[in-house]
């Protein structure tokens, strides 16, 4: 009887170990995917922000020139 228990227990432990390992890998790879997603999104956002900053400055400069050229009635 003990012999059977030993065999079954060993098999059960091995199976549990395999399942757990697979699960950890899945979680870790999901996190990795998410990090990559955030990273790439961040880059796109940052690039657009820089463009926006530059363009805003251009508009500000145009406005300053306009202020110099046109009188203050508008």
């Amino acid at each position: 009887m003990f012999h059977y228990f030993k065999r079954v227990a060993a098999f059960a432990i091995a199976t549990a170990f395999i399942f757990t390992s697979c699960e950890d890998k899945t979680t870790s790879s999901k996190e990795e995917i998410e990090i990559k997603t955030m990273d790439s999104t961040s880059k796109v956002i940052e690039e657009n922000r820089e463009k926006l900053e530059d363009q805003t400055e251009k508009v500000e400069k145009s406005l300053e020139k306009l202020d110099e050229e046109f009188d203050s009635t508008n």
Binding site: Y4, F5, T37, N48, T56, L66
Partner: protein, 274 residues
Amino acid sequence: MKKYLPILGFSLLIVTAVAVTAAGTQQDKNPKKDKQEQPGKQKDKQDKGKPDDQVKGNQGKNDDKGNQGKNDEKGNQGKNDNKGNQGNKDDKDDKDNQGKGNNDKNDGVVDDRGNFMKKGFKWDRETFKEREKFRKGEKVTVCHKFNREDEPAVTINISANALQAHLGHGDVRGECPAVENDRWSDRFLRQRSDYYNNVVATNEQVVYSQSILDYALNRLTGARTQLVTLQNSNAPAADIERKRLLVVELEENTSLLQNLIGVTASLVANKLAD
């Protein structure tokens, strides 16, 4: 008895496998993951068909564990961040920070995307000259909370002008307390913090750019009128041409700015609202 042992053993194996799988599935149900990949979608589903007020009313009920998300009014937050606060007449801090008269002149700019602040600066010639006060204004650190209770709060740096709006939505001034968890790696949490700080900075830039755009469009109208008047008078042709070129330049620049605001705003829309 012996003949039942293989059956018993096999049953034990099945039970173990099911238990392990179930435990794994629980772990897998980390809602943050799905959410961060597509922020806003969950909320959109929840809020679909509800009036704004109702949505606001429903939010903020998710009290949180260990600092992770009192989660008030996230949709609201997306709308009011920065701009809403910048234009708030009741906000004394805003007045101190923003220089002359911006708040009093604010008549509200409703964003057509519906994601951002409801109000913004309304510059005039005088306040426009002092815009650097706003741009280089003080930054404050807040612990930003999300709608979902198992979404960890994140430390972000915001413009002091937007502080009241954030506090009003359940955020807390200062850094988020460290939360022990085995769900996310340090690397992930750092990346997440950088990501949201980037979103905040971009959001603030959108608000500022929108205010400049509004002012520019207003100035353009006045300049065009003045140009027509000049053309109808005996003003020197060279003067008229110089002014006309300035108007054209501003028109081009505002047009580009408008497009960029639209694109950038859509990128950060609702990112902080979940």
